[in-house]
């Protein structure tokens, strides 16, 4: 079967720094792939390239066979690849529901229908009880979930999640993991950047490990976590100090 998302030989240089260095990997439909690695590994730059915020120096990204590279980020989102932000960015003048209604309007011009879809999305992330509360008052955990509700209301095929567990209190981590699991069961494909590896191991089918812009390893999460090169990268082993 052809992979849904193909990332081929993507590179990006910022001045003297090769932030992403010929990274390639595929994501199959319905899969959850975790992208892991220490700070500065190039994970967020890679995300930026995939969703169109950053132009790659070389390489290309394809979604269901169609080339995404070179398209604007809003066009890529309309094509079905949507991201969430590391620091959630709610529309602060709106309510929780208002935030998600905007997202649902990406797929329908009918505001009544958008409202129904937004309510469903809020319900899925467990925030329906806050529908009329102002988004400016949301806690970090609520903001993360609101960001996810907004993304899923656009009905994406692939969802890129940038640290969905970052800054979330331990009690809510299981809830978010269960939510992501449900999204996959609904047929969504997820690519997740996350520093909480213990939590991510329970969720992901596969890990892609990065360090210093390069892909180090790829495979079953527990195996990748035991890979000496990744351990080395996290601990700042000698092999990586040169750059």
């Amino acid at each position: 079967m052809k992979p849904l998302l193909e990332i081929s030989n993507v590179s990006r240089r910022f001045g003297g720094l090769l932030a992403v260095d010929s990274v390639s990997f595929d994501v199959a439909e319905g899969e959850i792939v975790g992208v892991v690695g220490p700070n500065g590994a190039g994970k967020s730059t890679l995300f930026g390239i995939v969703c169109g915020d950053i132009r790659p120096g070389s390489g290309e990204v394809r979604l269901a066979g169609a080339r995404l590279t070179g398209l604007s980020s809003d066009r890529i989102a309309r094509n079905g690849l949507v991201r969430t932000f590391q620091t959630p960015r709610p529309f602060t003048s709106m309510t929780f529901l208002g935030n998600v209604v905007v997202a649902a309007l990406a797929r329908t011009g009918d505001t009544a229908e958008a409202k129904r879809r937004a309510e469903r999305a809020l319900d899925r992330v467990g925030l329906l009880g806050f529908r009329d509360a102002p988004a400016s008052g949301a806690s970090t955990g609520q903001r993360k979930r609101l960001d996810i509700a907004r993304a899923i209301a656009t009905e994406p095929r692939v969802l890129l999640l940038d640290e969905p567990l970052g800054g979330v209190d331990p009690g809510s981590i299981d809830e978010i993991l269960a939510l992501l699991q449900r999204l996959r069961e609904d047929g969504m494909t997820l690519v997740v950047i996350e520093h909480n590896l213990e939590a991510l191991v329970r969720l992901a089918d596969r890990f892609v490990a990065m360090a210093l812009g390069r892909k180090l390893a790829e495979g079953a999460p527990r195996e990748v976590m035991r890979d000496p090169r990744l351990v080395d990268a996290y601990l700042g082993g000698e092999g990586h100090e040169a750059a």
Partner: protein
């Protein structure tokens, strides 16, 4: 679904109350000219007030909803006034068609400005619009073909609705201006409730996040700019037909651009009632100050504006209408 049910009840009642108040206000405004036939000052005051309220709505569409503050909207007023007037003088074009032509020209100019300037953020966009409007003022003040600093007299026609001219009885202007503000308000309220309004408010809050959901902020802002410029241009045509004389200071001045922005800011930015309240307050003060302090009125009304703006920004940053709001400010 109890939550939804509980929260729906009060707004529905509030809608009825609001609808009733609007109907009452409209009825009063429709009947008012019956008593104002012999009071040209009040008639003119209200006509100008409606005109500014309509322009405040148009400005608000771009600034209040899409978050692009312009201090150059006077240029669209001038473009409308000059286009219809030149078309009437040159080829005898009916002013209604001239007004539509002016709106189309202004909308196109707005789109070109937007393409060039929407990449500028915050203050830089404000400065760019201000400079463009001032440049247009200077160009027109020097351009012989459009009358330069001497201005243009409109060709006088037999008074009729079709000719858009009324000489003895000025009440038709009052009704036309009222129709303008009703149309502008209806358009803004309609857009606000549709996809356009939701997306514009999202862009105002966070452009990047809106883009990440699949919307092109540039496209939406250009549509808002075109509508806003087109509406203001039609008001410019109305002004030309009302006063029957235009020159750069009356239709292209910086003071005009500032006033258009102020009626929305003082009344309440990003709300449909804000520009109406703002126009009522500011135009009344401006016109009465001109009488009470005749001769020096121009300066004293500006000082009064200054005071009001300071008072509003200190005590009611969301505008006068926020006095009546539940949560003291912006829309839902």
């Amino acid at each position: 679904m109890t939550i939804a049910g509980a929260s729906l009840a009060p707004p529905v009642r509030a809608e009825w109350v609001r609808g009733g108040l609007i109907a009452l206000l409209l009825a009063v405004l429709l009947a008012l000219p019956l008593f104002l036939a012999a009071r040209p000052f009040e008639l003119r005051l209200l006509t100008v007030m409606f005109l500014y309220a309509a322009m405040g709505q148009a400005w608000n569409l771009l600034a209040g909803y899409a978050g692009q503050t312009s201090l150059g909207h006077g240029m669209f007023f001038g473009i409308g006034a000059y286009t219809s007037t030149m078309a009437a003088i040159g080829i005898g074009l009916n002013p209604w068609l001239g007004g539509l032509l002016g709106s189309a020209v202004a909308a196109s100019v707005g789109v070109v400005i937007g393409l060039a300037c929407f990449r500028l953020k915050g203050h830089y966009f404000v400065i760019a619009t201000l400079v463009l409007a001032e440049s247009l003022y200077l160009a027109f003040a020097d351009w012989e073909w459009v009358g330069a600093a001497m201005g243009l007299d409109l060709p006088i026609e037999e008074p009729s609705l079709l000719a858009f001219q009324f000489h003895r009885d000025k009440r038709p202007y009052y009704y036309l201006a009222l129709a303008l503000v009703v149309a502008a308000t209806a358009l803004v309220v309609w857009l606000d409730r549709r996809k356009m309004g939701h997306v514009l408010r999202a862009i105002r809050d966070d452009e990047e996040a809106t883009r990440s959901l699949g919307f092109s902020p540039m496209r939406y802002k250009l549509i808002a700019m075109a509508l806003s410029a087109g509406m203001i241009a039609f008001c410019g045509t109305f002004y030309a037909q009302f006063v029957l004389f235009i020159d750069p200071p009356s239709v292209l001045s910086l003071q005009l651009s500032v006033m258009i922005a102020l009626v929305a800011i003082v009344g309440g930015i990003g709300t449909a009632s804000g520009p109406i309240v703002g126009a009522a307050v500011l135009v009344t003060i401006s016109e009465y100050a001109r009488i009470w302090f005749s001769g020096s009125g121009r300066n004293i009304d500006l000082m009064l504006y200054g005071l009001i703006i300071m008072a509003v920004s200190v005590y009611r940053p969301a505008g006068i209408v926020s006095l009546f709001g539940r949560r003291g400010g912006g829309r839902r």
